[in-house]
Each structure stands twice: as structure tokens, then as C-alpha cells.
Amino acid sequence: MIYTIKGKTGDWELVIGLETHIEVLSKSKLFSGASADYNPSVPANTQVSMVDAAMPGMLPVLNQECVNQAIRFGLAINADITRRSIFARKQYFYPDLPSGYQISQPPELPPVVGRGWIEIESDNGGIKKVLIERAHLEQDAGKNMHDKHPTKSFVDLNRCGVALLEIVTFLDIKNPENNSFITSPDEAERYLRQIREIARATGVSNANMEEGSMRCDVNVSIRKVGEKTFRTRTETKNMVSFKFIKTAIEFEARRQIELYENGGNVSQDTMHYNQDSGTTSVMRSKEDALDYRYFPDPDLLPLIITDEQIEKIRKTMPELPATKRARYMNDLGLSEYDAGRLTESVEISNWFESAVGGVQPRAKGVANWMISELFAHPEFQMKPTDLAQLVDMTRDGEINGKQAKDIFIKMLDGESGSPRDIANKFGMKQVTDTGAITKIVDEVIAANPDQVAEYKNGKVGLLGFFVGQIMKKSGGTTNPAAVNEVLREKLS
């Protein structure tokens, strides 16, 4: 079922396009040698070259590291890498843009990363391909600060010139049968999470919305269910959280429905999202749209990418989250949920794989411990080898589950040493010796004649009672499987 919103005149469906900006990880900026580290702890205007400050006569020089990052991302989203693309100047006046233009890649020509796609989970539970039109490299702007002085504004140029990759989804208007795009707020979120995962897995970007290394412009239009053509869209700028994006889409769709249903029309405006009220309002009408006067940047040569360059990068591509998830499910036997949790970040999956250490039977146990215990204690720096040992000890019957939990808690409380050291120190050893178990079983049977009678009359649920009694008597050291076996035999 496609997501729809009920209006007075019928059901409406959503057409959503996303322009996602991710800050490219690189040592220096896109066109200057200044450090690309602009995080807030760095003093303002200390990472600014003469090029960034747009001093007279300064010239941009393309940072190949940023190009390689773009190619890496392009390969990860199954995209065509454009062998020859150009840089153009997008022009407007603003104090955070010293040169008066942003060097970007022009909208009418294929940029470094061309057509691609990624898969997301669709609203009806299946897999949906989201088409991507392009991803282009461009410069970020500096930051204006208006809260430092009662009458003056200040500008910090540390971020100015840092490379951005803008990823634009595709609406194939010419080939409607090929269309595959985002149609609900939830899908928008899943798409963005997927982009984030890919960016992190490839090391292209931290893609962190709170830190500002991922931002999004949201295009929304609506149409009646069954309509084949598209209606006018609006663009809501600079969204910085999944929650806001979803609220804005929902609000914007309802606003448009109301307009149409009251006999009005949607105009192609640029909207502003108000975080406090969760509403959108017109920031710039179509008539006031800025004319950016794009033209090819005469200071830069065309960006030529060779097959060799692409192949070299392809060889170093890490495993992507989607592939990794599939592998965890197929090869390691994890559930879809577990596989999803363990591929949320490269750090997590690396830790997981390091603990599993290629021992397939260990995987499920490691996954369980991580998801149910370690994720709840992010402050606990456990060694992957320690968890592996704990899982192995349990699996080999050296200790039982309860003992394993006790060992884990001791480690959490600061007990030093490996799980085995701790087991030895506290004498935690599972009793698997059948003679010893038989002795305890006999004692328990002898002490509970009534329950034995009831069991023999068919109340088999009492087996758990006996096991509990036996475990209690043994101080939790007996092997539950062995206890079960002996008990069944004695009671039969």
C-alpha cells in the first residue's frame, strides 16, 4: 500500500525529492590547502587560506582527494562516474561567501557522479529502488554569527571552501515506467539513513545531522492517487534532523492538499521550516527566485577521470552496509533485526567481526551479547576477545548462561582479567559430571514425592520446577541440559 493522505476530495499520494549535502572528509579544502577541520572547538578564522578569503589574484586548485571521495561514494550508490565534468560558478552576494560565488558543478551537465540508485525498505515491507540523478562536488560556505554583538554580525570562514557532495534523487519524468522515488515521510527517513550508512561505511563523510555534516533540502509535491503526471513542487531548505524532515513533508503535503481542495494552486516556492511550530512558510516565491548566473569557472580545467583511477578506487571499496547485512544473515545465520543493528556503524560491525573472529558458530552468541548487553553499556570498553571467550565458554559447556552473566557483570563492575580468569578466581564451573548431577537429582526427587506423583499423572510442566530446585541446590553450577536429561530418565 502506498502512503496516502485523505483529503476532502479523495486520497492524495506524495512525491518526494531529496537534495542531501554531506560534508566530504578530506585533510584540506576542495580548492585550497587550508585544513578542512572546521569543528566548533577550532578558533574562528584560523583555517582560512588566501584563496578561501578571496584575496585578489588567488586561484583555486582542485583537491584530488575530494574527487576520489566523490568517486568512492558514486561507486557505492551504483552510479555512473562521469569521465569529463566541469566546475561552474554559482553567484550570489553574502558575507559567508567571500568570492561572491560558490564553485559547484552546473545543474545542466552531468557532474562527477551521474545516475545511480540505492535500495531502501519500502512502506509495504519490500525493497524499493530509489533513483539518484546526480551527486556533485561543491564548496561549503562560511558561517555568519549574529549573536556576538548587539549591532554587528561576524563571519567565521573556517568552513568556507570545505568540500560538499550534494546528492540529488531522480524523478524520471520522461520515462514514468522507470520511476522509483520516495513517497512517504518514513521512506524519506530510511533513504537518508541509508545515505548516511553508505557515507560512513565508505569513509566519505561523517554524515551527522546534529554536527551539520549532513543537511537536506526537501522537494514535495502531491497528486491524486492514480494520477500519472506530476504537479508543482515546493522546496524546503536546510533541514537538519530526520524528525523535522518528516514533519515538514507531512505539513507541506497537507498544506498543498488544502490549497488544491480549496480551488487554489501550488506555486513553485522555496519554503522555510519553522522548528518550533512544525510548519512551513514561503521564504522566497518563484518570482523572486535568485538568478545564480552560472558559468564555467575559467580558473579550472575540466575534471577528467580515467578508468584506471576508478578501478583503483573500486579495489579499495569497503563492504557496504547492505551487502554486510546480507552476509550476516546468509553466512552467519543472524536474524534481519540483529544484522541491521550490527551494521549501524562501521565501528560496531568491525567490533562484531573481530569478536566472531571467523568462527561462525560463535556469531549468534556474540550478536546476542552485543545487542542485549553491550549496547546498553556504551561506557564499557570490553575487548572483543573477552566476549569471544565468554561465548565460547558457554557454548562449550564450561559455564552455563547464568554464570556467564555473572562474569559479565563482574567485568562491568571493574573486575580485571579474562572471563576464564574470573571463572577460575570465583570457582565458577559448570557441573557436567553425571554422577554428581544424579546425586542431586535423586535428593530432589526424594524430597518432593507429591510433585513426582503429579508429574507422573501427566503434569509434565512440573519439569521446570524440578530443574529450578536442582539448580538452586547446586548453586547454579550444573549444566541445565545434563540436568534435563538425567531428570527425564529418573522420572520416566
Partner: protein, 486 residues
């Protein structure tokens, strides 16, 4: 012997043989600048203390045999090149007090070659103009027929005025549409626009990036050749800089069998009789040395001017957006941000610069881009293709550098009439090929006229060799003392 009249080549010889010292030579230029600087108005800023200190250093190097290629040669630097610690104004009010913290590649290379910086030469504001009259600091004056107050040309008019008048031995220029060749031609000097990409643009205030070419102004072809060899070279800081190793030709160019193209489409352009006669005379001189003269066709060359006056203002409007009063330069505070921008730029830029920025902004607007900017880019491509084709038929192209000699500074020309003066020079900028203007002789009024030698891409060394033949035939006496009528 007057030190001022020595050419670069002669001066180096005298310095090397210790007949003169760099300090003497520098002092002679500084004295002359003191004497004529105000009259010729060729410098915006002079740096005498630094010049004398550098001259003393040069003398040490001559004494201990570590002299460099241009050791001790007094140099004028067009005030478009950033010079660390010395204000760099682009002859604009908006940068009136701008002192850069960096040194342009070209000025650095010339300093590394041992030249002595005398000062920053006058020019049209941001190099936009033909008479250097758009300078915020007033126009430089042509040293020829001083009582007539003629233009020294533009935009590198301060450089040509200084070199022709003996206030600098050599000078840098920049040529976006003829800004070295035209002023050099009407001041009796050799001025060259090298191949685009041969000399780094880094640190030189940009006017129109795809056309801006750094070049040299000197009194003789040999001087210009030496100077270029100090300036040329790959610069990783300029992405459009070529990885080409410029080498001075060591043997004279034999003209036997060489083909020289004359552009058919320029034959109908109205030029002065003097120019026509001198051009014909020099062509027949070259013929006498065995060169073969052929007619070639550049069908769209007359459209070059129109294409140029779209592309250059378009790029300029973008390049000059950075002068917004926010980080450096003057600022006129308004009642809000937009008002501050407008007041700053309205006050800081002169009329011609404003005109070109308005034109440039208009031709890049979304409704005009296709019909103006793209069309101009297509014309540019076609002209380049024609030049490529022509150079399959000939080795060089020669044409006049201007339609006539220097005009009075107070000539009352419309902007379009000024633009038309670039007719003979802009095509080479659109294409990128090297072109040198070399003295062709004097008009009947005694004013110098020039001829351009145009070559294939990166054939700069041979262009200069060909120019040398013309120079020899012209035999123009351009010693500063004679130019100034002393």
C-alpha cells in the same frame, strides 16, 4: 653614455663587466623618476628605499659571482601584481590602501632573477580600458611629444610610459584584450602577450581569467626575450598554467621558406595611411629575406570584438564580486547589508568598471546566457578553429597592432569607440596564441607604430625571433633621452 639609454642586454653586459654598478643604475632610474614621475604619472607607488637596498645586494652578488639572470635590472611592476608588503591597488579606489601579505608568482620570479623593483606602475582601473584613463590615480602620459599629452595606451599604460620614458628599464604588463600590445605599439616598445598558460596568473588581480595573460614590456626584442625566460614556467598554484619549458632560441631565425599569413578579413579595416605604408614596407622587408607571404582567412575575426566584450565583462563581473567591503578594501557602511554592498561598490569602482560589471551581470543572467554568453563562446571556438586551420598553412600571422598612433589623452571617445581600438588585438586573447607587438617605424608625425607577430600555441620563442627581424628593419630609435627630446 647615459645609463638610462642602455637596453637590458647592454646594461647586463656593463654590470657583469663591472663598468657600472647596480646601485648606479638604480639611482639613475630613481633620479629620473623623481624628475619626470609626476609629469608622466606612470607610477602609483614607488619603492626607492627597497630598490637601493636590493641594488646593494645585487652589487654584492656581482662581486662574489652569484649574479642571477637579471641581476640589478630596474623593473616596473604593473600595479595588478600582488607585492608582499607593498600596496597593490589595481588603480582602483576600492583597493586604494590594500597591502597584500603574499607575492604574485610573476613578481616573485622576477625578484628571484635579481631584478630591482622601482615601483608599481599605473594602469586602467582593474585593467579595464585602452588609454589608462580609468585609473583612480589619473592617466599616465606618453613620453613621446610630451607637450601634446598623448596616451601611453592601456591598460598597461603606466608600464609603457615608464619604460619608454626611462623610468624603468623593463616592466610587466597584463594583456586581456591588447593591454600590453596596444600601449607598447604606441610608445615604440616591444610588448608581448605570451601563450595563455605560459606565465602564471597566481597573485595577479583577475580581470577576465580565461583571457588574462601576463607578459612583458621592453625596449628591444632581445630584452623582451630575456625577460620572458625569467617569467615563464609551470606553477602548480594556477590550474591553467602549462607544463611547458620555455627556451630562448640561440640561432637567428632563417626566413627562407617560412610562410607568413596576412589576414584577409582585416584588409578592409580602416587604418591610418602611415600604418598601411609601414605595414607594407615591413612585409616587403620580410619577403626580401625569403619569407613567403600568403593570404589566410579568419572568417569571424571581426566578430571577435563583440565576443570579447561579452566574455570579458562576464568574467569580470564574477571576478570583481569579491570586492564587497567585507574583508579588505574600502567599506561604505549603509543601513543594512545590501545597502553596504551597494554603497561600497558604487563608491569604490569607477564608471568603466561599473559599466562592464553591469554588462557582465546582464549577459550571464538566465534569460541572456544562451543568446549572449553561449553565442560569444561559440564565436570564440570558431575563431580558434580558424586560427588552427590558418597555422596549418603558415608559420606566423602578422597584422598591425593598432589602426594608428597614440591619440591625445583628452580625445572624446564613446565607450564603443574605445572598444573598437582593440580590434587588432582581442582575437589572440580569445584564442590564446602568442602575439608580440614590435616597433614598425614612425608615422609622418614622428609617432611610433607597431606590428604584431602572432604564432602557434607555445611558439613564443620563434615569435620573438620573427619580431626581431621586423625590429631590425624598423630601426626605431627608442632611447628614452631621445624619446623625451632631451
Amino acid at each position: 653614455m647615459n645609463l638610462i639609454d642602455l637596453t637590458l642586454t647592454e646594461a647586463l653586459e656593463q654590470l657583469r663587466t663591472k663598468k657600472i654598478s647596480a646601485t648606479e643604475l638604480t639611482r639613475a632610474y630613481l633620479d629620473r623618476t623623481k624628475k619626470f614621475g609626476a609629469e608622466l604619472n606612470c607610477y602609483i607607488t614607488i619603492t626607492p628605499e627597497r630598490a637601493l637596498a636590493d641594488a646593494a645586494e645585487s652589487d654584492k652578488r656581482y662581486a662574489n659571482d652569484t649574479a642571477r639572470m637579471l641581476e640589478g635590472i630596474p623593473l616596473g611592476m604593473k600595479d595588478l601584481f600582488a607585492t608582499r608588503g607593498i600596496r597593490t591597488t589595481a588603480a582602483s579606489k576600492i583597493l586604494e590602501n590594500f597591502v597584500p601579505e603574499y607575492e604574485s608568482t610573476i613578481s616573485q620570479k622576477l625578484a628571484d632573477a635579481g631584478t630591482i623593483l622601482l615601483g608599481k606602475t599605473n594602469l586602467d582601473e582593474f585593467a579595464m580600458g585602452t588609454f589608462s584613463k580609468t585609473s583612480f590615480f589619473g592617466a599616465p602620459v606618453n613620453p613621446y611629444q610630451r607637450n601634446h599629452k598623448l596616451t601611453a595606451g592601456g591598460s598597461s599604460g603606466g608600464s609603457t610610459s615608464a619604460v619608454a620614458g626611462g623610468l624603468a628599464l623593463i616592466a610587466t604588463g597584463t594583456d586581456t584584450g591588447g593591454s600590453i600590445r596596444f600601449p607598447a605599439a604606441i610608445t615604440g616598445l616591444v610588448g608581448m602577450k605570451p601563450t595563455y598558460g605560459l606565465c602564471s596568473r597566481w597573485g595577479c588581480t583577475a580581470f577576465a581569467s580565461s583571457l588574462d595573460t601576463m607578459g612583458q614590456i621592453a625596449r628591444t626584442v632581445d630584452d623582451a626575450t630575456l625577460m620572458l625566460s625569467a617569467m615563464a614556467g609551470h606553477d602548480p598554484k594556477d590550474s591553467t598554467s602549462a607544463n611547458f619549458d620555455f627556451k630562448i632560441a640561440t640561432t637567428p631565425l632563417n626566413l627562407k621558406g617560412l610562410k607568413i599569413g596576412i589576414i584577409k578579413e582585416l584588409s578592409d579595416v580602416k587604418i591610418s595611411d602611415d600604418m598601411k605604408n609601414l605595414f607594407a614596407a615591413r612585409i616587403s622587408d620580410l619577403k626580401s629575406l625569403g619569407a613567403q607571404i600568403i593570404e589566410i582567412s579568419i572568417p569571424n575575426i571581426l566578430d571577435a570584438l563583440a565576443a570579447y566584450y561579452i566574455i570579458a565583462p562576464a568574467e569580470a563581473s564574477s571576478n570583481l564580486a569579491r570586492y564587497d567591503g567585507m574583508r579588505y578594501g574600502i567599506r561604505e557602511t549603509g543601513h543594512d547589508l545590501i545597502d553596504t554592498y551597494m554603497k561600497t561598490r558604487a563608491t569604490g569602482f569607477g564608471e568603466e568598471v561599473q559599466r562592464r560589471m553591469i554588462v557582465g551581470t546582464a549577459v550571464l543572467s538566465s534569460e541572456s546566457y544562451e543568446v549572449y554568453f553561449m553565442q560569444a563562446a561559440r564565436v570564440r571556438r570558431m575563431i580558434a578553429d580558424s586560427f588552427n586551420l590558418a597555422f596549418k598553412q603558415c608559420d606566423f600571422i602578422v597584422c598591425p597592432s593598432s589602426s594608428g598612433p597614440a591619440m591625445p589623452l583628452n580625445s572624446d571617445l564613446t565607450p564603443l569607440e574605445y572598444y573598437a581600438l582593440d580590434l587588432f588585438t582581442v582575437a589572440m586573447n580569445l584564442v590564446g596564441v602568442p602575439a608580440a607587438s614590435v616597433p614598425a617605424g614612425r608615422s609622418t608625425d614622428g609617432l611610433p607604430l607597431g606590428i604584431q607577430v602572432v604564432g602557434k600555441m607555445f611558439d613564443d620563442a620563434r615569435v620573438l625571433q620573427m619580431a626581431k627581424h621586423i625590429e631590425t628593419f624598423a630601426g626605431l630609435d627608442n632611447r628614452p633621452t631621445s624619446v623625451m627630446g632631451e
